[in-house]
Symmetry: C2
């Protein structure tokens, strides 16, 4: 498979694939990629989405491809897993915060009420922000 087809099949731009190769994440043998490159590209994308850098991905790639893991790699994997766990926790808390506002405003709108005292950030005066938002544009 050549780079164009790989790009089509993965939905990843040619530029990105070349970048991956540049980072030694995606080896090509004489302009040909094996069938397995598709899964590999998807793995790379997934790890990028999880906030790993190309260097980190390069580091843990061997353990993702082979079932075999050295103690050092195991450490790295565990570190990253823990980091992702933390990230999930943070995102969950953020989502809950957004959710609280969304459902609260649903409740309010269904009753036609208004509530400016039930702030999530206490101590703010409305004018503080309104003015800043207006002057922003």
């Amino acid at each position: 498979m050549r780079i164009g087809e790989l790009a089509r099949r993965t939905g990843v731009s040619v530029r990105s694939l070349r970048y991956y190769e540049e980072q030694h994440l995606l080896p090509a043998v004489r302009r040909q990629y094996p069938e397995s490159a598709v899964g590999r590209v998807e793995l790379i994308q997934q790890l990028y989405a999880a906030g790993l850098s190309s260097k980190t991905i390069l580091g843990i790639m061997p353990s993702m491809v082979m079932g075999e893991v050295t103690p050092m790699l195991l450490d790295r994997l565990t570190d990253e897993r823990d980091r992702i766990d933390q990230q999930i926790a943070g995102l969950t808390s953020t989502r809950d915060r957004l959710d609280a506002i969304i459902s609260a405003s649903h409740d309010l709108m269904s009753r036609g009420e208004r509530c400016t005292t039930h702030c999530l950030l206490p101590g703010e005066h409305l004018n503080d922000l309104c003015s800043s938002v207006e002057t922003a544009k």
Copy 2:
């Protein structure tokens, strides 16, 4: 409170705080920040961590500060919440993938076995990657 103290209390650099003000996320009144700025900075950081851009944050900020939300803001909030939900799902799947490797390698090491066929990415030859990793450094 002035910017230095705010920086100390939030653990955010002075430079970043100034950037927030530049983006109209953190209004200052004559070089003075109100007590509530601390919570506000933490909110900003949390939203940044969730992948929101400064523009988006500026857009949804009013609804975070006041309980009141316009339908337009509600849409934006819902969009962001859904995006974060997706992000959480992706991260969870990535973490599970890492976890699978970690626990599998624990099992293997405890038995002193080796398993190169139990790959997570089928169809790869070990040499594909080993060579690419070696030549990387």
